[in-house]
């Protein structure tokens, strides 16, 4: 596979969220605001790219039995960097994301990519794969957040888009709408891709 193919595959055709239903905890939790989703997406891209790279570099030295543990520790180290960076420069966002930054560690996408790709491929390819998967994840987050923030608060990235006449749909801010939005997104994409096949 060329580098471009790796990227396209992990970002779109095999997108972790809508194809494999991985990492959706945070996809649901932070998507009531676009800003939070963007920051979360960037954090995941950073962690995915570097942990993929690191795991691929040292993959021959990790004993099979403790592989998961080592991978988790590598991922956790990068997440700590993201967390400290946010705390130092964007304390507001760090606060509103709460524990979800820390929970990037247990985001199944990262472990999934480490197991499925970084364990077998070269460091550079793993990094591209990680960035691809991260971008695919971020796109899903931004799409859901766009709809939820627009209808829930009438704003986009905190700027007022819909005027005072807009009645906020508080359901959009609450938990159930996140489940519905993701389900509708998966439905939409599945029926589109099925059409192409047929």
């Amino acid at each position: 596979m060329t580098k471009k193919e790796i990227f396209i595959t992990s970002a779109f055709t095999e997108n972790s969220v809508w194809k494999q239903i991985l990492g959706i905890c945070s996809a649901l939790a932070v998507t009531n605001l676009l800003m939070n989703s963007l920051v979360m997406g960037l954090g995941v891209i950073f962690t995915l790219a570097l942990s993929g790279f690191t795991i691929s570099v040292i993959r021959d030295f990790i004993p099979k039995r403790v592989r998961m543990m080592v991978q988790t520790l590598i991922i956790a180290s990068y997440v700590i960097i993201v967390d400290l960076f946010l705390k130092a420069y964007y304390p507001e966002i760090s606060k509103s994301l709460g524990p979800y930054v820390g929970l990037i560690i247990t985001n199944c996408i990262i472990m999934g990519r480490a197991e499925a790709f970084a364990g077998k491929n070269s460091p550079l390819d793993s990094m591209i794969d990680g960035i691809g998967a991260g971008i695919g994840y971020t796109i899903v987050l931004l799409v859901i957040a766009f709809i939820r923030e627009l209808f829930g608060f009438g704003t986009l990235f905190g700027f007022r888009v819909l005027g005072d006449w807009w009645t906020k749909w508080s359901i959009m801010v609450m938990a159930p709408s996140a489940f519905f939005m993701l389900a509708i997104l998966i439905w939409f994409i599945n029926s589109k891709t099925d059409q192409k096949k047929g």
């Binding site: 239903i21 991985l22 990492g23 959706i24 905890c25 945070s26 649901l28 939790a29 998961m68 543990m69 988790t72 520790l73 956790a76 180290s77 997440v79 700590i80 967390d83 400290l84 709460g98 524990p99 820390g102 929970l103 560690i105 247990t106 985001n107 199944c108 472990m111 609450m174 938990a175 159930p176 709408s177 996140a178 489940f179 519905f180 993701l182 389900a183 998966i186 439905w187 939409f188 994409i189 599945n190 029926s191 099925d194």
Partner: protein, 195 residues
């Protein structure tokens, strides 16, 4: 304001259900909920691990990390505690109840990467719970998770042979079901409130 552990326990099950309001532990929730029996097994394992790791992590955080001023290492330390504890549970269960061990199978090690477990530990730190509050929160969150996965498994067994639009089969319909469950749980929200 000091909340009694009992209130936190009840609230963690119903009003702030870790799955339906905090979206934690979704992966295993969606993948293991095909049958009531296996979800029950996994649910109990989660309750057990969650209760005890929240207790252990509380002690580790307040008596090791805070005095040594290395709070930023909390993620690494917590995940190590959880992984070690899951491993320990696995060995104990295998030794004393092989039957349960085989019925749980792959689900036990999977608990390590269940974000709900780590999430409970992180929430208890952020919300500054005391020891008893943390344990009550861990147990309640575990039971809430068990309740949610049991309900979903029951519904999924019922709708298995029913007509579902093509694109929604599998994850899609489970998410919609979960959404409706979450909507139902919103009805509890006036009862007790924790953050």
């Amino acid at each position: 304001m000091e909340l009694s552990p009992f209130i936190i326990f009840v609230a963690a099950i119903f009003t702030s259900n870790i799955l339906l309001t905090n979206f934690l532990g979704m992966c295993s929730f969606l993948s293991v909920s095909k049958e009531v029996e296996s979800s029950l097994g996994l649910g109990f394992a989660v309750v057990f691990v969650m209760t005890l790791t929240s207790a252990i992590n509380y002690v580790v955080y307040h008596y090791i990390l805070v005095p040594l001023d290395i709070i930023y290492l909390q993620y690494i330390i917590f995940i190590i505690v959880i992984a070690a504890f899951v491993q320990l549970t696995e060995m104990v269960v295998e030794r004393f109840s092989p039957l349960l061990y085989y019925s749980l199978g792959i689900f036990l090690p999977l608990i390590t990467v269940n974000c709900a477990i780590l999430g409970v530990s992180l929430f208890m730190i952020i919300r500054q719970y005391t020891f008893l509050q943390s344990v009550a929160f861990g147990a309640g969150a575990g039971l809430g998770w068990l309740l949610a996965i049991l309900a979903l498994a029951g519904i999924r067994q019922k709708i298995k042979d029913k007509y579902i639009p093509q694109g929604l089969v599998g994850a899609g319909i489970s998410l919609i079901t979960t959404g409706i469950m979450a909507l139902a749980f919103v009805g509890f929200s006036g009862v007790v409130v924790i953050q």
